[in-house]
């Protein structure tokens, strides 16, 4: 077992228990590995590395939204890899590339390299959020972008506290769908 697996799994377990700092460290470390992974794949498939950052963010969002599907009895690396690979295949299918030539890769590849370049995706989240229903928009903006507490967000958005939680959760999912649609051919 690699030190990466041990460290990242520890972060994941803490994050599942609600530790925000661990969650942030986990997503940061995973995003640099995802960047290296996607750049490598896209170049090998003859596509520009510029799509890589879009994919990194889709995968990071997916890891966040689907983190409840990680089974702590299992290794983290194959779980992350499966999501990364799924998002790659989905991306290639969406952008009408042939996905028969997606190489079957090994789970370890996902942890193979780091790429810390400070990149920007083509997604404009603020603009995409305008498309969300008002409650979701308000809840995500208050809680996720401004860091208000659930109670403060509830007051601002005119929702109950559980309403805020539900709207953040559904809003992130809806945002992931919007981002996926945004990917240009």
């Amino acid at each position: 077992m690699t030190t990466d697996e041990i460290e990242l799994k520890a972060l994941m377990l803490a994050s599942l228990n609600g530790d925000a700092a661990s969650h942030r460290a986990l997503l940061n470390r995973l995003s640099s590995r995802l960047r290296a992974y996607y750049k490598g794949k896209l170049v090998r498939l003859g596509r520009g590395a510029s799509d890589a950052e879009d994919l990194v963010q889709e995968a990071v969002l997916a890891i966040h939204i689907k983190r409840h599907t990680y089974n702590p009895d299992e290794l983290l690396t194959p779980w992350v890899h499966a999501i990364a690979h799924y998002k790659l295949v989905d991306f290639l299918r969406r952008t009408r590339a042939s996905f028969t030539d997606v190489p079957i890769d090994e789970a370890d590849e996902i942890m193979a390299h780091d790429d810390h370049s400070d990149a920007e995706s083509t997604y404009d989240v603020r603009r995409l959020m305008e498309k969300l229903p008002k409650n979701m928009h308000c809840a995500i903006e208050a809680v996720k972008l401004e860091g208000l507490s659930t109670a403060e967000a509830a007051q601002r958005c005119g929702l109950s506290e559980s309403g805020v939680k539900v709207n953040v959760h559904r809003g992130l999912k809806a945002l992931a769908v919007l981002i996926a649609r945004e990917a240009k051919p």
Partner: protein, 213 residues
């Protein structure tokens, strides 16, 4: 958008995660699927009148054993498919076992019977009703299982759809067994087995469209 900003936003105010959510959701969905299939069968078709005779009970047990075997094995696979990468640990070959068993039994029972009876044993009285009822009743359980699966994260959508379809067909066949008066092994193998496979193919075709995330 910068990835750092996305990570920062996602890490703001996070909640502890319920790790049992996926298993719970799927467990409840499977139970609900079976109950709904039974309810639809009772409402639409009703239980066969001669259920309490020895011959009817014997064949009910056989039909149920086949359907329960299929549902049981495929439920185990479906549970694995709820999590990313689950398909890598799933060689689906064991799902063939209930089918192989019923085909074998059907072949033996045909071999023991005079060939003049074969037509009756294979086609029964109600093959068309069986062919239509099992897939139609399976629609609602399929929808329930797919809805639950959307809360999970399957990364092999065709296979997940196929297993969802097979389970839906299986619970539907469990319900239909209480109504069906065709008591022969070849009939069970062809019409129960065939309709379940039909549901599997439909599920595989619908999976990528319904389960994408």
């Amino acid at each position: 958008m910068k990835t750092d900003d996305l990570v920062a936003a996602l890490s703001t105010r996070i909640e502890p995660v319920n790790r049992r959510l996926v298993n719970w959701t799927m467990g409840i969905a499977l139970l609900a699927a079976a109950v709904v299939a039974l309810g639809l069968m009772l409402a639409g078709l009703g239980i066969r009148a001669d259920l309490m005779t020895a011959r009817a009970l014997t064949f009910l047990v056989l039909k149920l054993a086949f359907a329960v075997g299929v549902v049981g094995v495929s439920s185990i696979y479906l549970m694995r498919l709820t999590r990313p990468g689950g398909e890598r640990r799933t060689s689906s070959i064991r799902i063939m076992m209930p089918f192989a068993a019923i085909v074998l039994l059907a072949a033996v029972s045909l071999g023991l019977a005079p060939s003049s009876h074969w037509d009756e044993m294979v086609m029964g009285d109600q093959w068309l009703e069986c062919l239509l009822s099992i897939p139609i009743i399976a629609i609602a359980p399929f929808a329930i299982i797919v809805a639950a699966m959307r809360k999970a994260a399957p990364t092999s959508l065709e296979r997940t759809g196929a297993f969802a379809g097979l389970i839906a067909g299986g619970v539907s066949a469990m319900g239909y067994a209480l109504h069906c008066t065709d008591d022969s092994l070849p009939f069970i193998a062809i019409w129960y087995g065939g309709t379940m496979l039909l549901c599997t193919l439909a599920g595989a075709a619908l999976g990528p469209r319904l389960l994408r995330w």
